[in-house]
């Protein structure tokens, strides 16, 4: 057993001396975690919104006022041509066109259309559209409520009654502030309760990105160890080792142990950074977290051993690791949550152990998962690791 640890220690020493490996094991995952965390967390910046209005009526003025007070968008008034160009150049998240006749049509109860201009796939455009819909919808409801109230209440006794389409300014002027006051203090509201969330916990973009990038980059750390194994095979070092007292099983165990310890240490550092730098609550259940870390390192180390056993060149290993890690990350929900994908994609994703591990990690962070809750992920990871290990041992060669 001592020889296993010696072999593992030798590989770890090589990795520690290779400063480049730090780039993939620590620097890149932290940079990507920060980037995606800020991107999907929304950040605190207001989205720049170019606005041009063909209407100067009261409803348009009120809508623009509400947008200017919004915490979501920062309004920049400009001409149509400038607004289109600013969106096209990426200087504005979106542009809003308030059409001529907006106020009149709204007051007349006619349907009105606002146009949001934005580039395809922009998350900013979706946020702007939601905010504009909400504020304009609120205003339209107020107008409808005032009109309905004025029509229903009728004119003072002795005067002829009227319809919604023909209301007097006086009746509306009386009903509007009353409706506005009622809507400002709604009796029915929405209360959001996060299932399993810790007291005061608000999910952030880092809760999504930190475990995702951990899974994404755990495989990159195998590059150095994998390349070392391939080089040792090419240089006949493995064959020469067999002339010593080292047994084949000790050689394989030493290689796997080296990769396991490497990925485990990497996880400790990345999780510590997630907990203390990005505020991701990994430590809600340390025992469950430990199981998920063991599961991750088992899968990664057995996969690393298999790839290094199967592939003949460093270049092939780099290509395979880059492609595999990206594909596995996408399928497992490391880049985007699987909830937004179709059922077939989710099914395929959950054939992989990494999707289960990510579910477990996010469950620990956001829902307070304990040991019992992460058991399914552990079982799937153990089954995969066993399969990968058997294949790796079968394909393990001392020479090419």
């Amino acid at each position: 057993m001592k020889r296993v640890w010696t072999l593992a220690g030798k590989d770890l020493l090589e990795t520690r001396r290779d400063r480049l490996s730090l780039l993939f094991t620590l620097v890149m995952p932290l940079v990507f975690t920060a980037f995606f965390g800020l991107l999907f967390g929304g950040g605190s910046d207001r989205l720049p919104l170019a606005v041009w209005s063909g209407d100067t009526g009261p409803a348009a003025t009120q809508l623009l006022g509400a947008l200017e007070r919004s915490d979501v968008v920062a309004v920049h008034r400009m001409t149509k041509a400038d607004a289109e160009k600013a969106v096209d150049d990426g200087r504005q998240a979106a542009a809003l066109e308030v059409p001529a006749g907006f106020s009149g049509d709204l007051a007349a109860g006619k349907p009105v259309t606002l146009t949001v201009v934005g580039v395809s796939g922009s998350t900013g455009v979706q946020a702007v559209q939601t905010e504009v819909s909400s504020l304009a919808g609120r205003q339209a409801v107020l107008e409808r409520a005032a009109q309905a109230a004025a029509a229903a209440a009728g004119k003072p006794i002795g005067q002829p009654q009227t319809s919604v389409a023909n209301l007097t300014a006086a009746a509306l002027a009386m009903a509007r502030p009353l409706a506005q006051q009622s809507l400002a203090h709604p009796v029915a509201t929405l209360r959001v309760v996060q299932a399993g969330a810790a007291a005061g916990q608000v999910p952030t973009g880092f809760d999504l990105s930190s475990p995702g990038m951990l899974i994404n980059f755990i495989m990159f750390s195998l590059l150095t160890a994998g390349i070392a194994l391939i080089q040792e095979r090419q240089n006949f070092t493995l064959l020469r080792l067999m002339t010593t007292q080292v047994h084949r099983w000790e050689l394989i165990a030493g290689k796997v142990a080296g990769m396991f310890i490497l990925t485990f240490v990497q996880q400790i550092i990345l999780i510590a950074a997630g907990q203390f730098l990005f505020g991701v609550d990994y430590l809600r259940d340390p025992a469950a977290l430990l199981l998920m870390m063991i599961a991750t390192s088992l899968v990664a180390s057995t996969l690393g051993l298999l790839l290094a056993s199967l592939l003949k060149s460093e270049q092939a290993l780099i290509a395979t690791v880059v492609i595999t890690s990206m594909a596995v990350s996408a399928l497992s929900g490391a880049w985007f949550p699987l909830e937004i994908t179709g059922p077939a994609f989710r099914f395929v994703g959950h054939l992989l152990p990494t999707a289960w591990i990510l579910d477990g990690l996010r469950g620990i962070i956001l829902r307070g998962f304990g040991v019992a809750d992460v058991m399914p992920a552990l079982v799937v990871a153990l089954a995969w690791s066993a399969g990968l290990f058997v294949l790796a041992v079968w394909r393990f060669r001392l020479t090419d």
């Binding site: 989205l47 349907p111 259309t113 409808r144 959001v192 299932a195």
Partner: protein, 416 residues
């Protein structure tokens, strides 16, 4: 000149026989694009699957026999909105008892549970100014936050309608009283009129892409943007694979031996650059054609596509040479190159497309050559002409010239 092409041809043939290199250059971008298209609904526009929502309606209907209406349930109004045919592609709603609804969320079977309280109708239909407040509970799974947000937005709209009806009733009661008319009749009529006005906000918010040069532009499907991002990203790796032959030949001694022949060094290095450029050019052409054939991507006008491919090949090959000119061994080239390309891919938007538009990241994107190239591809996909991609082509070319000059400077010192 023939010697430059002889060297380039030799490297090209070598690359075409290199399976891992071909996998990185062609299979990876196409496979990842197919994967992302598969994730978001098969390649067209971005679409997500319906959110599973459990609804527990505990609301007790209010009897309003005096007005001739048998009973009214605000809770059922909310359920009706959630189950409306217009929302069937967005929400998949199932009614359950409260405990089962919560269990669905706890077990990950539903993204959210909407729990309507027992006093909901009595509060909504009361016109008293001292009515207690009530709240619908949205019990959501924080690991499925997007589904929760969608449900929240829809329930908010439903509540706005109900609060609007209540506001109409309250205002009608006050105005009717001031006008000396019947309070009850005004309330019933106001609610009926409010609901009869459409049951929706009356404001539609539509989205369209920005116009290019005053022309109407096409809406871009997600697969085109994803493949453009992946193509530019993997062109860096393609260039790196070919440029790495300089290091391999240096290590094997064939490069120093080549330097002893009458072939000038600039011709040898020119041949290496030509082979790198031609390889990534071929890579881009194959990916564009494959994108057209397999994903039916309309890349845009031929001249625009050609300009973007030529510019991208220039940037990728010059950067590939620069990285190789800095490192000493093929292993270093693999690790440093991958790091540089990943950072550029991240900052330039190869993984996020136009998701960051309008934010600080959009400014950061413009500091990278691939960020500008992706702006160009976005415009090409939207139907832009050559005039729309002047800067997205010129700026990457400036990057290419700088990278190439630095690489030449490094190689001259190294092989002096």
């Amino acid at each position: 000149m023939s010697r430059i092409f002889a060297i380039a041809w030799k490297d090209l043939r070598s690359t075409m026989r290199n399976v891992p290199a071909l996998a990185m250059m062609l299979a990876a971008p196409l496979a990842l694009s197919a994967l992302l298209g598969f994730a978001f609904g098969g390649g067209g526009n971005f679409s997500i699957s319906a959110t599973k929502v459990a609804v527990a309606d505990l609301d007790a209907p209010v009897f309003t026999s005096s007005s001739g209406v048998a009973s009214s349930s605000a809770g059922q109004t909310v359920v009706g909105i959630l189950k409306s045919p217009q929302l069937k592609d967005i929400l998949q709603v199932s009614e359950k008892p409260i405990a089962a609804a919560r269990r669905s969320v706890d077990g990950g079977k539903a993204a959210a549970a909407v729990i309507i309280p027992a006093d909901f109708s009595s509060v909504i239909f009361s016109t008293s100014s001292t009515t207690p407040r009530t709240a619908i509970e949205l019990y959501e799974n924080p690991t499925q936050g997007i589904g929760g947000s969608i449900t929240e937005s829809i329930v908010d709209q439903a509540l706005l309608e109900l609060n609007g009806a209540r506001a109409a009733a309250q205002a009608a009661a006050a105005v009717a009283t001031a006008n000396g008319r019947s309070h009850d009749q005004a309330v019933q009529k106001a609610i009926k009129t409010f609901v009869g006005q459409g049951g929706s906000s009356g404001v539609a918010v539509v989205q369209r892409p920005p116009q290019l040069g005053g022309k109407k532009s096409k809406d871009v499907g997600i697969t085109g943007l994803v493949l453009a991002g992946m193509m530019v990203f993997f062109m860096f790796f393609g260039a790196s694979n070919v440029a790495r032959t300089i290091l391999t030949e240096e290590r094997n001694g064939t490069l120093p031996r080549l330097f002893t022949t009458p072939t000038p060094r600039r011709v040898i290095l020119g041949g290496k650059f030509a082979s790198t450029y031609l390889t990534v050019l071929a890579q881009a052409v194959i990916i564009v054609v494959a994108g057209r054939l397999f994903f039916a991507i309309d890349w845009g006008a031929l001249d625009v596509v050609a300009l973007l491919i030529l510019a991208a090949a220039a940037v990728a090959s010059s950067l590939g040479l620069l990285v190789i000119s800095i490192v000493r061994t093929p292993a270093q080239a693999g690790a440093i190159g991958a790091g540089v390309y990943l950072v550029l891919g991240l900052l330039g938007g190869s993984f996020t497309g136009t998701a960051q538009s309008g934010t600080t990241y959009a400014t950061v994107e413009r500091l990278t050559p691939n960020g500008w190239l992706l702006v160009g591809w976005d415009r090409a996909l939207r139907g832009g002409g050559a005039a729309d991609i002047v800067w997205p082509v010129l700026i990457p070319l400036v990057f290419a010239v700088v990278f190439f000059a630095l690489a030449v400077f490094r190689f001259r010192r190294r092989f002096a």
